[in-house]
């Protein structure tokens, strides 16, 4: 163990260096919302591009439609990635908490069986 005063100074330094996220920004939730928006906007861009390209014989406008379609595809892919990241992080946190809890219950049950039905022997 480190010297106490040194440890306290280290604690003060670590707290001072701590990177704090402003909770008001709600970055995680914002990213998930952006992901959903991308997922919705992507196909809309694609459909719009299809109508534009089929509504004209002008090759310049058709190329614009291709660019629009590719933009839509990009939005959809990036949006899906953001959404999956946000949703998966939340799900995995919940899953891990549940797993630890279930394992604890299971271990308690085994300990109680091995102990003639008594739970949590003290000492």
């Amino acid at each position: 163990m480190t010297d106490t005063s040194e440890r306290i100074e280290q604690f003060r330094a670590d707290v001072a260096d701590m990177k704090l996220r402003d909770p008001a920004t709600g970055l995680d939730r914002l990213l998930v919302k952006l992901g959903v928006a991308g997922l919705v906007a992507g196909p809309c861009f694609g459909v719009a591009a299809w109508f534009i390209s089929h509504g004209t014989r002008n090759p310049l406008q058709q190329r614009d439609a291709i660019v629009l379609g590719l933009l839509g595809l990009t939005f959809a892919v990036v949006g899906a990635a953001l959404f999956v990241k946000g949703a998966l992080a939340g799900f995995l946190r919940f899953w891990m908490a549940r797993l630890v809890y279930e394992q604890q219950v299971q271990a308690d049950r085994l300990a109680a069986q091995g102990n003639g039905g008594r739970r949590y022997p003290a000492g």
């Binding site: 630890v100 394992q103 308690d108």
Partner: protein, 240 residues
């Protein structure tokens, strides 16, 4: 002359809620360097919630958590733990499906400047019983041994602030005495300790100050003997 250092931990007007139900209604507490503060109170007073708020495990609905003079409301539990705030939760804060040794190795992963073997040896020196049980699954240990393991794992991280929740819960008096002996040793070495206990007597001998929490408010703060006289009327319903 050096300017006076701020307390290591300061809770200022802390409010916390579960959904629409507020359980902490503006709690003010401080913990100095090397001090032991006991937070006492009956079931449902908000003690565990207070610790969870301090550790960053429960969101604040008002007020501030200040560590070493810095407002850290937005800091994650991980960041607070990395800085040296160690919470040993109520019950058995161990991984039940890992062996004693593996549990200690988990702590070695976050310990400062300590090798796995050092962490293990330090734990076994504190609690020799754990050495005999090192290959046993933590979930199959007795309640006291699990609590020893939780404490050993917490201490292995070389905490600056140790936060203990109901260390004595469900344990035999001799085990409680042994555990609080270790806590007193840590406090003697200068680690700040904030300990929550429902059973006041066991912690009074170790604490420098005590705070009485009732219905989510601090009813009294003072020296343990000053608080002791208020305990029975405040929450023990006549039990002394």
């Amino acid at each position: 002359m050096r300017p006076p250092q701020p307390p290591l931990v300061e809770l200022r007007g802390v409010r916390a809620a579960y959904g629409p139900i507020e359980v902490l209604h503006g709690v003010d507490l401080t913990l100095g360097a090397g001090e032991v503060l006991a937070v006492l109170g009956p079931n449902g007073a908000g003690k565990t919630t207070l610790l969870n708020v301090l550790a960053g495990l429960h969101p604040l609905s008002g007020g501030d958590v200040i560590l070493a003079g810095r407002r850290v409301n937005a800091a994650s539990a991980t960041a607070r733990a990395r800085a040296g705030l160690c919470l040993i939760p109520e019950g058995r804060g161990v991984f039940p499906n890992l062996t004693v040794r593996e549990n200690l190795r988990m702590a070695a992963g976050v310990a400062r400047q300590a090798a796995r073997s050092e962490v293990e040896e330090a734990a076994y020196a504190r609690f020799p019983r754990l050495r005999d049980r090192r290959r046993q699954l933590a979930g199959t240990l007795s309640g006291g041994e699990q609590q020893m393991l939780a404490l050993a794992r917490g201490l292995a991280t070389d905490p600056a602030v140790l936060v203990l929740d109901e260390l004595s819960m469900g344990l035999a008096p001799l085990v409680v005495e042994e555990l609080y002996g270790q806590v007193a040793g840590m406090a003697g070495a200068g680690v700040s300790v904030l300990v929550v206990e429902q059973f006041a007597r066991v912690v009074m001998g170790v604490a420098d100050r005590a705070a009485l929490l009732t219905h989510g408010r601090v009813a009294a703060v003072g020296r343990p003997h000053e608080i002791e006289s208020k305990l029975s009327s405040a929450y023990l319903g006549g039990v002394r």
